[in-house]
Symmetry: C2
Subunit: 404 residues, 2 copies
């Protein structure tokens, strides 16, 4: 059985690392706070007797031996956060993994298969794009060398340097697990609104991240007639609004977000010479998502041309929608039902490390409700009752899959 106190204590302990005044945490990938979180996690793993591994992209996993050798059942997620993140996004999955190990130890249970608890590097993509970087490299979907050469958006050098700086560029070789499980907060409003306790996640929607850079001409805000301007900022605004309009026209589940928007030189009385923005487009339907991205690129080009500007774009992430293993999703639903927990099959709106495993091994996720659907927000919160319920379903599944 899960120990609520032990699990909540670990969540609180990790939540103090990178804690923000006013609540929430900032543990951006490969930052000093991330290093402190990693050091704490490794110590916890060692205290539990796990053998700790670190690979070339800084993924950390701790292995609990089974009666047999072979591939482990892996419980994974991440401990990096966005700049204004909460205590649960990612951390819950990793710490529930530790709690599963502690519960098995406490009950003196040896499983047939080994169990691994993993924390993947830079799941959030907040400092280095793309997101799911560590799990993507682990499973071979992303190229190690390309990822090591990825530059931070905050001017903090490339991934490889950042790994060296915090001492987490390892040499261990990844092994694809026999099965992959991830417990995560929903990060959306559905479970709470319906009063459902557990989400049996059927898959993850596709994610396209695109960065646009518009080049115009800087000039004086007072002396330059509107007709003679080549205003990079106004072109960028039109791209941002096009993203919003495309989402409105396609309707749910298409979403579009402009989270980054910068003007240069960024002065009140200077027509912007350059603008940079990012667009995050998502859809459960891969073809619809491809079409939305194609349309956005076309509208961006047209907006630039109409204003005498030029626009470049860079694909920062292109993840197709993923469908989880039907049998394993069914087991999640059964495990919840066996504990008298209401359960709903649902897709995930957020990207998750699990999606990198789905093509290669049976994979499933367990969602628990997020208060008001808030996430990537310092007010992110989930109820203790739900946290414990989710961890219990995870433990039950691990016992089933690993052969308790």
């Amino acid at each position: 059985e899960i120990s609520p106190g032990r699990l909540m204590a670990r969540i609180a302990a990790l939540g103090r690392i990178g804690a923000l005044e006013g609540g929430g945490v900032c543990r951006l990938a490969l930052s000093d706070a991330d290093k402190a979180g990693r050091d704490w996690l490794v110590a916890e793993m060692e205290a539990l007797g796990l053998t700790v591994f670190i690979d070339a992209i800084g993924n950390i996993w701790g292995l609990r031996a089974g009666r047999g050798a072979g591939a482990p059942v892996m419980i994974g997620s991440h401990i990096d956060t966005v700049a204004t993140g909460g205590l649960y996004d990612g951390a819950l999955g990793v710490l529930a993994g530790l709690e599963v190990v502690a519960a098995l130890d406490g009950a003196g249970i040896e499983t047939a298969m080994p169990i691994a608890v993993a924390a993947f590097t830079n799941e959030e993509g907040a400092r280095f794009a793309p997101d799911m970087m560590g799990s993507g490299v682990y499973q071979g979907a992303l190229d190690l060398d390309a990822m090591l050469a990825t530059r931070a958006t905050d001017g903090g050098g490339v991934v490889g340097e950042a790994l060296d700086r915090i001492g987490y560029r390892g040499t261990d070789a990844p092994i694809t697990p026999a099965a992959y499980l991830e417990l995560h907060i929903e990060q959306g409003p559905v479970l709470e609104q319906e009063g459902t306790r557990i989400g049996a996640v059927t898959g993850v929607q596709g994610i396209h991240w695109t960065e646009f850079t518009v080049h115009g001409q800087s000039n004086h805000a007072g002396t330059t007639p509107m007709a003679l301007r080549r205003d990079a900022g106004q072109v960028a605004m039109r791209i941002a609004l096009a993203a919003d309009r495309i989402a409105a026209e396609l309707g749910p589940p298409q979403v579009a977000t402009v989270g980054v928007f910068e003007l240069s030189p960024g002065l009140i009385n200077v027509v912007p010479e350059q603008a940079r923005l990012t667009v995050d487009l998502r859809n459960t339907d891969g073809a619809a998502l491809d079409a939305a991205t194609a349309r956005l690129l076309a509208e961006a080009g047209a907006a630039a041309e109409a204003a005498g500007c030029t626009v470049e774009h860079r694909a920062l992430a292109r993840f197709a929608p993923v469908v989880f293993d039907e049998a394993l999703v069914g087991k999640v639903a059964q495990a919840a039902a066996a504990r008298q927990l209401s359960v709903k099959r649902m897709p995930s709106g957020a990207g998750h490390d699990a999606q990198m495993f789905a093509p290669d091994c049976p994979t499933a996720m367990i969602f628990i409700p997020s208060e008001k659907g808030l996430s990537h927000n310092i007010k992110e919160h989930s109820d203790k009752r739900d946290i414990v319920a989710g961890a219990q379903v995870l433990l039950d599944l691990v016992c089933d899959l690993a052969g308790a």
Copy 2:
């Protein structure tokens, strides 16, 4: 007579202070580069035998005695620049003032009235709003204490602290001059396009600067349906586009510029919680400008409300249009014609220190052409021939007004 070599040498010398790689200068108001420029200017004034004064907002003026005491004929402008400025905007007016003094000295001319050469603090408004801060305080149009308490947009403290830091908070009392003259580059395309050598400036259009801050709710870009968002960024984009649309609908001479636009937290997969933007609206017609600003505020409020956000605004500058002294404008035109220079009466699109003097003393400006109309751009350029012609017209006017 003006000495072209001596004038161009001073322009080059000041242009090396805060010079940017690739051309242009960055001498933001009250920065280290501004201090270096001020130190150089004071030394030049002293070398010319001028008595140097500094007032409580850091304005610098050097006085050349006349046969009589009384109020001086003042030649003024500024030496601060935007972050990506050119060598001529402001600097030309001040350095032509020094050249006028040097030319009078060289010819052994004593004038009836004193002559003052002035450099006003923070004309650009690029680091501290409003613009024309020093001349506004000098003439009593802006409140000294309020200006000293104005915070830098780059987090560099308030004006008073910045003045103390660079050692330019003086104690001298301003005196309103008998007449005010300013030579400046046009910063727009009109003179060059028409092949006209000199602009006799008839006045300055009104300037309204407004800062908007939009408050929404940050949330996850993947899990939050479009209908449940309160996206501060999208509201800000709508305000920016409304400014552009208002200018398009009113037509020339109305202009609108969004030069500053910031999202917070500014992450690719987070719906923005807060957005800040500035809008610079200008028009030669004061009533039309007031109406444009009122309409923008109304549209901003409506855009915020429609998206479940709130918006605050702050008036960073409200300068009504200014008309220069008709007799003095006529003298500019005559002085140009007497030198066989083609001349055009024209309003100024940019704000200038001269506009702060116009209500209180006869005031006029001399414009010279700007190559391609570029300004607030490191490629800002004016022809040496035009620079010398403008300075010559200035010298002729000073001799006329001050009684050579």
